[in-house]
């Protein structure tokens, strides 16, 4: 490559960095595309690969105090090319093994997703990770297919308050609370989380759903009931992002059915400070981060915006 080309490339890259960089909830990211929890989230080698492929940040698989093996297969089924059903059962290597995995992280923007069933577990988890090089936490209060963890916790506003408060007391790093659509209104859960000291919300997790094979009449997932992700849940995610940012007034990362740059822009117009990518990685592959960034970049140019943060919540005025 000629010297001028290299210079030009560097100029382009830094221009991209300036237009796409976002700053919210105590985090500063080079671009607003983030790996959603549960997708490839257990391996430092994979995190490096994803970062090279332009991920703005990475959320780990939800980590519990002890390792969890999860449910028997089938744990993940594809309903078509754009929607998925899973009941993995929060399988994860546990806090000890995972803190070892990311111990040598120096510059990757990693958020650790935490999961537990009582306020006692979260300070223990935070102690394992707080001294490592991570940019924050996401508390998973919305997994729809494991008893006493996830949405059963998220549906109990008092427990949500105690968990977020207990975590807040043990860390100064940003805390995001991941909410889902359960039996309790997402707005009240978000506002309880905010009152307890959360820096932001991730909305949404998968939705309780099911698939039955019509030849055998048998539910396909070993756990029978799992969580629906992908394109069909996007309108729900957009609604939640819109209402939470407008009514509760807290930074939100949009998650759920974000498949292309149009979806990402829509989520940001609804109020999201960033978007998380999950199911799209199964459909389109790991190049999605780059593709979506490029699309947002072109959109901003057409709209004469200097930075992507200018479009956050623009739909609120309507």
């Amino acid at each position: 490559m000629f010297a001028e080309d290299a210079l030009e490339l560097r100029r382009e890259q830094s221009a991209e960095r300036n237009t796409l960089s976002v700053n919210f909830g105590g985090m500063c990211l080079r671009n607003p595309t983030i790996l959603a929890s549960g997708f490839l989230g257990i391996s430092m080698d994979l995190f490096r690969r994803l970062y090279k492929l332009n991920a703005g940040a990475i959320v780990s698989k939800s980590i519990s105090c002890s390792p969890i093996e999860g449910y028997r297969n089938p744990t993940i089924v594809s309903l078509d090319y754009s929607s998925y059903l899973n009941a993995v059962g929060l399988a994860n290597p546990g806090a000890d093994a995972f803190s070892e995995e990311i111990r040598e992280n120096d510059n990757l923007p990693i958020m650790v997703s935490l999961v537990g069933s009582s306020e006692k577990e979260f300070p223990i988890l935070v102690k394992k990770f707080d001294r490592l090089n991570i940019i924050g936490y996401e508390i998973n209060l919305s997994c729809p297919h494991v008893a006493k963890m996830g949405i059963e916790v998220g549906d109990d506003p008092e427990l949500v308050y105690r968990i977020v408060k207990a975590t807040r007391l043990h860390t100064t790093k940003p805390i995001f609370v991941k909410v889902g659509v359960g039996n309790t209104d997402v707005l009240s859960v978000a506002s309880v989380a905010k009152d307890a000291g959360a820096d932001g919300i991730t909305a949404i997790n998968t939705l309780r759903a099911m698939a039955i094979d019509i030849d055998t009449g048998i539910p396909v997932l070993a756990n029978k009931i799992g969580g629906l992700s992908g394109k069909p849940i996007k309108p729900l995610a957009i609604r939640c992002v819109y209402e939470i940012t407008k009514k509760v007034g807290i930074p939100v990362m949009a998650c759920g059915g974000i498949f292309d740059w149009e979806d990402a822009v829509e989520a940001m117009l609804a109020g999201a400070s960033a978007v998380q990518l999950g199911s799209v990685l199964a459909t389109e592959g790991l190049s999605s981060f780059h593709a979506i960034c490029t699309g947002i970049q072109a959109y901003l140019k057409r709209k004469n915006a200097k930075n992507v943060m200018e479009i956050i919540g623009l739909a609120h005025k309507y």
Binding site: G38, F39, L40, G41, I42, S43, D45, L46, R48, R49, K61, P67, I68, E69, G70, R72, N73, P74, T75, I76, V77, S78, L79, D80, Y81, Y84, V88, A91, N92, P93, G94, A97, D213, D215, T216, I218, V220, A222, G278, S279, L281, A282, G285, L286
Partner: protein, 274 residues
Amino acid sequence: MHTNINRLRIVKIEKIVEETPTVRTFAFKDVASSNAGAGQFLMVWIPQAEELPMSVMIWHEKFYAAVTVRKKGYGSTSLYNKRVGESLGVRGPYGNSFEIPKNARKVMLVGGGTGLVPLLRLAIHLNSTRIDTTLIIGAKTHSEVFFEKLAVKCLEDTNHQVVVTTEDGSYGIKGQTTEAMLKLIGTERFDTIYTCGPEGMMKKILDLASASLIPVQASLERYMKCGIGICASCCIGDKLVCKDGTVFDSETLSSLSEFGLEYRDKSGRKCKYL
């Protein structure tokens, strides 16, 4: 009509072949599976029991494919116990396949146990392109040798040699596949070595072949939850066996420090191969 390979397809078991006292092959009609590449796998659903990644076995009837399973754990045993007429679900085939270099004239295939499955599919391609093929089949003992006759049949139109090794010497050459391989590469020139089987064996093959500057392609096996590149249960280094593999070349294999040594268990913790 274009099949969405991600959608579960229910197939009926039509034939069962008893390969050894612990290994059986199950044949079923499924066009997408019958067209699988050598090294590609299916996610096989055993209703109410498990879903397992299985390399796609060849079958002599058009539009048919098969899977070959050794009974071991709960999942493989529930598949092993299936009968003719019962249903399985399949999705896929997923993953990449073995590649035959344009200028290849003479190749070697080394496999053990059910690792022979992708090699037989490859053998059929080698047969039709008339590439000189040496296949080494390894087993612990005579009663565990299978696919020998089938392999010879797969290679009938090309110059071939099928060598069997048993660890106890009860059949064929006594010793390990790698010993037979070492002898052969010392006297003949091979353009590529293809392998599938226990990872320790494949690692040894990679090391020996690299020392002789022979490129290797290995098909890896990992525990898999999704098969479609999202759960990372199959990861080795920064690669996903289900998406980037199952076949990796020498260069990639040499860069993967976990190869032959470590895998991830169901929870995602790294474990050592015994």
